[in-house]
Point group: C2
Chain length 193, copies 2
Amino acid sequence: MLDRDVGLDIAARLFWERGYEGTSTADLTKAMGINPPTLYSMFGSKEELYRQALDFSIARENSRRLEILRSNLPVREALSLYLYDIADGDTQPNKPRGCMVSTAVLQHAEENASVARMTAALREASIQTLKARFDRAVEEGELPAQADTDTLARFYGAIIQGMSAQACDGACNARLKALIDLALTAWPGKRST
Amino acid sequence: MLDRDVGLDIAARLFWERGYEGTSTADLTKAMGINPPTLYSMFGSKEELYRQALDFSIARENSRRLEILRSNLPVREALSLYLYDIADGDTQPNKPRGCMVSTAVLQHAEENASVARMTAALREASIQTLKARFDRAVEEGELPAQADTDTLARFYGAIIQGMSAQACDGACNARLKALIDLALTAWPGKRST
DNA sequence: TCATTAAAATAGCGACCCCTATAAAATTGT
DNA sequence: ACAATTTTATAGGGGTCGCTATTTTAATGA
């Protein structure tokens, strides 16, 4: 009998590479080495499997990143490490390019609207996580009280989405990090050059 | 007989909203009011039609944007107007959200790899267009000689892709423009605040 | 050992995919 | 007006989609 986490790992990888609409249940059952009825008894449906595969992957990747944000590092340092970690995730060898969530199900058939809402909600949650860290920085005096933490969070969210898109198009790790370094110069505060 | 440009306009809109994989030839023929054989005699195949619809849309939208870049405006002003125009395109009423190219065919089934290469090439071309404008700025002394125009172009390219993703997720025009304004503070040069 | 339960595999449902051979209708030229 | 040509519509081929009823195999308990 197939281990549930192994199955989710295989499914996540397929969905990551080919997207929701580009992955068929036949692809999934073949990669997992199971028959269709087993997939449906274990995971319910293709959409349910996608949701569970997303949850599974996020649970594994997010703890490390949340720790960076929860740490006592200066907010700008924490943000930098956070983005670097995402850039690393976008360009892992022998893994699909880009992020499984950032650029998933943006254009889609009508029948997949509920799946698109799901990934959109995950992206919004990730932006809110950044905003919460920036709000904390305001409370702790690291950012001025009038700082627009919402726009800051959406700006770095856009960088994360742009990195994923460019990684899908073949960008290497160094390029993404150069992009991050430039994005960090938009951080509030004085600048030397 | 269906006018060719009308057909391309209808196809472009469908592909824009639903993506390449999410749009069926039945959707296309129905929206155009033609029968399948007519579609294939006029456009060759679904992939050819997508290519032609992309060319058609780009030809229409890009001239205005290229004029902004070709103008004698200071490079930072030109860039600002260019990005604002894209933000407007991402949030037009009664049109699909986001950009038809920026966030298209990022994840895809293997059989659609050639389509993905096509949209990736279009994105790269748009980045090279930005880089060319920045290189001109170096030549004309608006930017220091050691400015990294390639990274600058990829950075604003990432902003364009992030805006498209967030527009797909429901972001309004004002939010995208706030994001642009913040991204422009990463432009080389001294800053007041 | 044999009946009973649980697991896996097969076969196939109706619907849709991209695309095309063929038939019907409309247009044209004389 | 009638034949030749072009355009439109129908029908369907070969395949895959997500999903499931049914059968076969394997594991379990008395």
